[in-house]
Subunit: 412 residues, 2 copies
Amino acid sequence: MKKTVLIIGAGGVAQVVAHKCAQNNDVLGALHIASRTKSKCDDIVASVHEKGAMKVEGTFDTHQVDATKSDEVAELIRKTGAEIVINVGTAFVNMHVLDGCLETGAAYIDTAIHEEPDKICETPPWYANYEWKKKDACAEKGVTAILGAGFDPGVVNAFARFAVDEYMDEVKSIDIVDVNAGSHGRYFATNFDPEINFREFTGVVYYWEDGTWKEKQMFETGHEWDLPVVGKQMAYQSGHDEVHSLATNYPQADVRFWMGFGERYITVFTVLKNLGLLSEQPVTLAEGQEVVPLKVVKACLPDPSSLAPDYTGNTCIGDLVKGTKDGEEVEVFVYNVADHKVAYNEVGSQGISYTAGVPPVAAAMLIADGTWDTKDMRNVEELDPKPFFTILDRIGLPTRVSFKDQDKAWNA
Amino acid sequence: MKKTVLIIGAGGVAQVVAHKCAQNNDVLGALHIASRTKSKCDDIVASVHEKGAMKVEGTFDTHQVDATKSDEVAELIRKTGAEIVINVGTAFVNMHVLDGCLETGAAYIDTAIHEEPDKICETPPWYANYEWKKKDACAEKGVTAILGAGFDPGVVNAFARFAVDEYMDEVKSIDIVDVNAGSHGRYFATNFDPEINFREFTGVVYYWEDGTWKEKQMFETGHEWDLPVVGKQMAYQSGHDEVHSLATNYPQADVRFWMGFGERYITVFTVLKNLGLLSEQPVTLAEGQEVVPLKVVKACLPDPSSLAPDYTGNTCIGDLVKGTKDGEEVEVFVYNVADHKVAYNEVGSQGISYTAGVPPVAAAMLIADGTWDTKDMRNVEELDPKPFFTILDRIGLPTRVSFKDQDKAWNA
């Protein structure tokens, strides 16, 4: 049994992780949260206590850490005695936090792929550029590291594994569809860190088809999907983390990712990108100051966590998986629908943060009870999805399946 | 006879001013140009010599100056012996350059209203906030100061004066229409300094109707104009310098300004404005750096002078003036059409810089020969327009008149 959890990060997703850890502290033990700005951690823990979220009596301590320094992370792990680290800081710190875990033996969980600030969209498969280089080190030291255990990547990887295992002999394609049909009432806002959000879409769209990597431009290919609860929605083929591990684990399948965008998002994105305002490379102002335009855009946009109180509507994220079973063509849609307002009422965050923040806590609980404590590095599709779904059902993100005109719970 | 000209500024308009001064150095004498960055002045003078633009043998010297310091400006005026200063630097330096002229007795010409960097769209009439406070000082010291002697403001003020003087007993309305039907082939660019360009449209739209100041929002009121050469074009009621002096000099007339905008401009402007990226107030980045968003947008956009080589098409700028003559309703459209390509071939600049840069040189020539050397402060409508048109006809911006189905030269 591993216990004592250290959360790294203090944004909208960290808020959800903190609340969910508190609600399950009978399994997870003592809780800690650390960020560059300790006061943000204090605010989060205060909101946990306001909601009376701690299931059993226990501690929830806050710390300051510079997570770009693996030494500082290791020192904090030792100081807190953390056995599980849930990293929901910016994607720029992943490898440093993982190194801290390797140094101390603590289990590692993250929800997005590592990024270097000055590089956008590296060569596929993305995980091979950073994370997978530490596979051997994890195995040698017996360190459990679960990569991309948010919703997408994360739960959608488990959806794919489940669909393939349960519904087919052979998989032919995996299409992941992420639609947010909610409304925040602002002119424009991103649902998570604008810097990371925009970086997802400024690069090449990589996807896996016919056993090879192919490339598109963003917004080159759109498709209207007809989805449960949220109905007909346009989604566009985009680059995304999980394509890079699923293509490696299911090389026989085409793997694509589709993100829903409203017209407003596309207009704003197109203007900002064409003007060079989404660039991660510094420009020099007339007055001589060096500035990264994307960071200025981020500073001007609403803080994603500020959207929560007014957010209404639902998200629908799922996998359309096609293959053959007993020689016949089959297809199944495995999905979750989340409600922004319900998320806010429960943990004070909007649905996007909720869907990203709940799954890594489920993963932590599975490490804590040993089920997923593999002592090596895994992507989520390399783990048994059923115990994951069982916990997710219970803690707020139920998995459903559409198959042959039937819509039902995954285990019905 | 005043001679020896000092040009302040080294942007696209200064380039035109320099070429036109050189082409008329028999009237204007020795030439000087100064800017914060001397190398930009060197480039401009080099282009003057490349084109063989100097009409008669003479000097064209370059200097470094910080035009936000009136002492430095005064010292440079003394050093060069300049008797006429053409200020085409940023609108932020106007009052400092004017002070330098007041200190030394040199005549002053500018092409846009003074602006303070941290203030947008002050109370009308705008000239009363800065320039007109120096009216008495100019008169006492016998300093000639011609305000807003570009195209708009400038030539359009003369168009209004001419229409009223020649075509009516009583003026009822003056509508200034500025349409650029040219194409630069870029996704988006402003035709002059983006910072000044956007500042024009982020504030309240002030206009004068029924003897009082009224207010609108930008893009609130659009109208399709059918104009000579450029044809049908949408223009939107906007704030503009000349409305503020014309309303003071013709309080009995409604005075409005209309600027042509394409859909792309409106989309980009709307996105940037709504996101807060046109703000002149600093924001604090996550990393702590303080940055003015508008200055970052400026740094990302194409340098307006870089548009010139590929620019094609025409501008049409004119005044629709309505009134009564001998008891009957009359209306007249006084206008100029300029061709981007012709401007580039002559002076290496696009048409917008050309229309802004030629008129102050005509004004300088009228000061040089005494015609406009009034030894006090004037807006252009307070000066005889005919000698101005005569020079403009000759140096590249002919004035035409549409009246009762006739289209003709102003003096035909």
